[in-house]
Symmetry: C2
Subunit: 351 residues, 2 copies
């Protein structure tokens, strides 16, 4: 069984389904344009916890719990969980998913982590290593500001190119044909969609150092992965109903479209960015858009998969984008390299 | 093709080989009992760089470069690289491996990361997703002290249960049958060994909070993964020449042996800990032993694989152990949960 397609791309031979998924978000996300679509909106952003990090762990725990419930399975039915977040040593994950006692594979790709976890989950199922896996990622506005930028109490000004870290977590239960058939026999409306391709990204570093303009830092990586994807799959932008980046925001979107035009790909019609969908930039004062590991994950679960279920869209490219920086690398004057991993998601007939 | 064996375990159906590997270390490791076995020992621990983080990146870059060279392949021959370290946002990895321009899958499992990367690498090859992958992990004493503990200038006292973070990086080129045959035809003495099984671990939290006694924090996770492994593979401790943990050190070793005795497994004869092998505790003042993502990786590459090549050992269990803490989680009074992933490595006849 050869499931590779070129060096960086994969076409799974065994079908891989998104059996179900769930999204949990904070109050600001609940008030945004997608607010009504999320499974759970917190009453405040502490979720009953004492610290922001614990609050983020709770977001993950709730998202996984809800996704399992919706898929009609228990933690014992899951072979492994691919999980990650933005905090140092992925600490929101460690304390978020431990109670489920599922073998854990921690992943880190900054805000591209949702794509990475779905890619690895797809491989583990199509490779015959697991019947069902869970992929979960999260971010939290306040824990991310503390980790990367300034104490909230400073009340520092944010440039217009800055994005707003999404408080949210998205969890996905992936399964093979057998798991899908079982779920159907239990009367679950499933699967939500099918994963039919992957293109993994490499680090792209244009030398940009402005951590308040992460869209521009990540756009070259998105362009690189997309170009590789079109080559490996022999496809064109209009083969997809939507080409969905994670959190490029307003600035990064322009850069991406321009960079791909230079390569003779025009994605201006199909392009959508989760960071631009999740907030109303004007009324919610989020500047360039939303960002974070949670941004693409909750938008995929709440909005994108819904469109695929309703067959408004048949086939999309989902491409979370990550900015590989830390407080230390920023303080030491390093650049902000980007990375992006791409997943092809298709609607399933006769759900 | 069903390659799972119980929920957490995998027996690869397609053979997966460690084609070659390399280790780079700092001066202290070079002066230790394994000193002569490492591929590259730095003249000092800065490796010509301006910061400790850059020094750690250089360790990774050199380890990958050497491993590729020894395997006789170029970066373009590698499908993906599984890489990670201990620093916030895995920053040593981002700046360590980017120059190779190989699609990157970032992994995080604290000091268990070497096991996680080998497990995922094995899956990607046995699943037919890649012909060759690289797995690399690193740690650096000074960057880790800065990340987790005190400024070195404090000269703080360290309790006897504390371990010493290894400055080092180990890189492994995994490949399938075809890649192995190709390497042989080029006259490379290869493969170093074969990976024949995996057991993935879950988070185990006994509620211990002493970050200066990580051996005790991680031992329960090692015991849990080992017990699961023996059950899933229907094996016993004496089926292995060595059972090799990553960095439990003196204290953790005792705890692990005791915990497994309660489950009726006696591993006291077979057990070896990389952290206890890499330094001479007395003359090098390293207290409970070595630790870090690099500890198990460089010991595997320099020492364990050598024993397998020379057929002094035929079959070992390699079980890197991780302590899932961050500065923030420690300061917020959280416990230090552990995790451990297990890889079965066997010697290959007719190399």
């Amino acid at each position: 069984m050869k499931q590779s397609l070129g060096r960086a791309s994969i076409r799974p031979e065994k079908p891989v389904y998104i059996l179900n998924s769930a999204s949990t978000v904070g109050t600001k996300e609940g008030q945004g344009p997608l607010g009504l679509l999320f499974d759970k909106v917190g009453e405040d952003d502490m979720f009953g916890c004492a610290t922001w990090e614990e609050a983020e762990s709770t977001l993950q725990r709730d998202a996984v719990g809800l996704a399992l419930e919706k898929a009609g399975v228990s933690p014992d039915d899951i072979s492994f969980i691919f999980a990650g977040d933005l905090l140092g040593q992925s600490i929101a994950t460690s304390f978020g998913v431990s109670s489920y006692q599922i073998p854990l594979l921690g992943v880190y790709g900054a805000c591209s982590t949702c794509g990475e976890s779905l890619a690895l989950g797809t491989m583990s199922i199509s490779g015959g290593f697991a019947g069902r896996v869970v992929c979960v990622t999260s971010s939290h506005f306040a824990s991310a500001e503390k980790e990367f930028r300034f104490p909230l109490e400073y009340g520092n000004q944010r440039p217009l190119s800055a994005t707003w870290t999404v408080t949210g977590s998205g969890a996905f239960v992936l399964g093979d044909e057998e798991a899908m058939t079982a779920a159907r026999s239990w009367g679950r409306g499933c699967p939500r969609a099918q994963i039919t391709g992957i293109t993994l990204g490499k680090i792209v570093d244009y030398g940009l150092k402005d951590s308040m303009n992460m869209g521009a830092c990540m756009a070259p990586a998105a362009a690189s992965t997309l170009e590789q994807h079109f080559i490996d799959f022999g496809s064109q932008p209009d083969d997809y109903d939507k080409i969905i980046t994670g959190d490029l925001g307003k600035v990064g979107q322009r850069v991406l479209i321009d960079l791909l035009r230079e390569k003779n790909y025009d994605i201006s019609v199909q392009h959508m960015d989760c960071g631009l969908e999740i907030y109303d930039a004007e009324s919610q004062d989020t500047h360039a858009g939303g960002s974070g590991c949670g941004c693409s994950a909750v938008t995929l679960s709440a909005y994108v998969l819904k469109q695929l279920e309703e067959r408004n869209w048949k086939k999309v490219l989902f491409l979370p984008t990550g900015a590989l920086l830390s407080k230390t690398s920023f303080n030491e004057g390093k650049s902000v390299p980007g990375i992006a991993h791409c997943v092809v998601i298709e609607s399933v007939r006769n759900r």
